[in-house]
Amino acid sequence: MRAYIKSKTFWLSLLLFTAVPLLILWAGGTVSGRSSYMETLSVLTIVAFFQLIGQFFQTRGNRYAVKELTMNKVLKYHKCIGYIFVLIILFHPIFVLIPRFTEAGISPGDAFITMITTMNQGIILGLIAWCTLLALGVTALFRKRLPMKYRRWRVLHGALAILFVGTAAWHAVNLGRHSTLVMAVVLSLLTAGGVALLLKVHATQKGLSESGIEK
């Protein structure tokens, strides 16, 4: 842990995937008007999504990080960050419903039904992204029990990741409470960067030694 916190990789990712979104939120001035816990949850969701985009960079494709920290460690943090923020993102539709529990209005159940049955572009994308993310999480958690070779699994993992990040970013830009032009541009750039990195790894098929992976 120590080594990680001291590493440049850590600081750089902190800057890119935490400080940058917070800065955009602050500058955009969209975070206001609601109860502080709701605003906090909003911000948490956004930061969580940025962390998931950051996952593309916590991989072997990030040669700089691997060099600094060893693949073993990079992978450890990839997993650790992954599980935490995947959970947050999986739960975020429920966050949106919290005011329907705490404030007067329609019932949370009715709100949820309206939410998932509104056949709007952003909602459909969100539903696809959510299912993909669930699949990502489950296939990662139970990788060893899957009747699948590691390489095949990696292709699956990568494919799901691309599907997820693409639909989720689009969903976020379309529906996000704090989606502004700047936010949309930064989100798209980071997403594109991450996907490019992943594709590069798969294209070059480099570094496919199994070292440190089957742990």
């Binding site: 404030e103 007067a104 209005g105 329609i106 019932s107 009715d110």
Partner: protein, 593 residues
Amino acid sequence: MKTSKNQTDISRRTFMTIAGGAAGIAAMAAMGLTPNRAEAHSNIPKVDADKMSSVESETDVLVLGSGMAGVFAAVKAHDAGSKVMVVSKGRLGSSGLTPFAKGIFAYDAQTATVSAKDFLDKVSRSALGTNNPVYTRQLLEHSLARVNDLKEWGFFASPLYNKCFSKPLKERNIEVKERIVITHLFKEKGRIAGAAGFSLDEEKIYFLKARSVILCTGSGAFKPNGFPVCDLTHDGTVMAYNIGAKVTGKEWNDGHPGKSKNPADCYGGWGDMFDQKPGVTGVGVVHDLGVELNYKAYVKGNPVSMGGAPGQVKTDAVAGGPYVPAGFEHQKPPQGEKGQGPGGHSAGGKGPGGRPPKEGGAPPGMAGELVGGSSAGMAIHKSEGIVPINDKCQSNIPGLYAAGDALGSYMVGSIYTQVGSSLAGSAVQGAIAGEAAAEYSKGVDMPEISKAEQNRAQEEILAPLKRTEGYSPAWVTQTLQGIMIPNFVLYIKKESLLKAALAFIEELRDHHLPMLRAADLHELRLAYETANMITTAEMKLKASLMRTESRCSHYRLDYPDMDTKNWNAWINIYKGTDGSMQLEKQPFDSWPD
């Protein structure tokens, strides 16, 4: 319909530029301009009036309005065997006053500590004879059954009423058309024939043929600030008046004050009442929310605030002013939170949704300094509206019924006498009107609305869209508010000022009403509502001039006393054969001829 998004942007930008300084805003307000509609631009209709299509349909019983009265009218007319259609300019359970009322009265003869007779006597005493005991008794006899219906529909489970109102209508397959503004009623061969109006969303005019029509269109006001009544402008009353129905109660007032800080904030002004689930109230006869506070403000000036008693001033009550009958001077401090709002009634029962009532003090949100006129243009519920000719909510036009706030039933008189009775009264009367209308419909055949009448209505509906020059409804409305809302016009009245105000209103009626213009369907609604407010203002001023006494919520400085010799009577208003407004007296305890 296409609404351009630019409109908001433009209006905001205009607002920003204009609102450079607070002084600028104040100056604009003084001129009667809203920042958003300030520019004197010519009318560029976004809706092509010539492309409006028309839709026709027919039903046995046509229910206009989708509040408490409308739901019960529809359900009971259906259950009595009629084909029913509900049409509302808003959404079911989310328009009119119904969404904001949280206390509903129920009288259970089995458990009540007050006998029916004592209750009726007490109401009459508090109402100084202005109530119609037939309707008061009806409330007593039917309220429990209606509350039980509501329980079954899940009314008490949520602060919002759309879902529970949908339930009985869906179960019965009753068609509900929302966001259609009804503007005309049709009378053919001396009886009701149907209604017409336009959609807020599509370029469509609706012609609805019906054997009978029930007006559940609620009350209305001058789009005041601080009371959620801005969607209602006595439309039903004016429509019915136009085809010959008699109208009553225009001299009475509802004396709701608002908070002086953010007076337009209905939600905040009512504390957390809008957030609450509804609850049941028991017997609690009061004499409330007339114009006592207005009188105090008139004599003393600001600041006025509510004392410990609802609708009354605790400390140093000023001399004179509205007469409060013996035994009703000072009510016990409010115990609940579902009274009628800032300065509202106390609630007799337990808190809504079973919540323990708040301790003592003022009803929700009414602490602090108050301003008047938050419900300007509205009278005590059930004291103004269509004149009933019998106990069946029937008007003087065969086939036309009214229920709830749209009916001038004088259920509790011309002052609030029973907490929570407004909601209950709408439910009770809706049910009675529904059954009566269904019964009537069985005996008559489907009427025809003549082509000529249809064309005339269509022309009238579209006229504001077709005008290239004229007055914007927002400006005319603000001008009317400036004339009618000040304390010394409708609240603390005297002949000279009533006449002066009438001169202004007649100017609006003769010159501005015929020149109202609208750029889109939203503005078309505003134009129509503005016209109704002008007619209402004329009625209110004329009835106030005619009633040369003071009683309940009508107070005249020049006639401060009650005159039981000449004025044990209601005032009815109707359209004379020459189209002019006629007023007549109807003695208490009698039905119209």
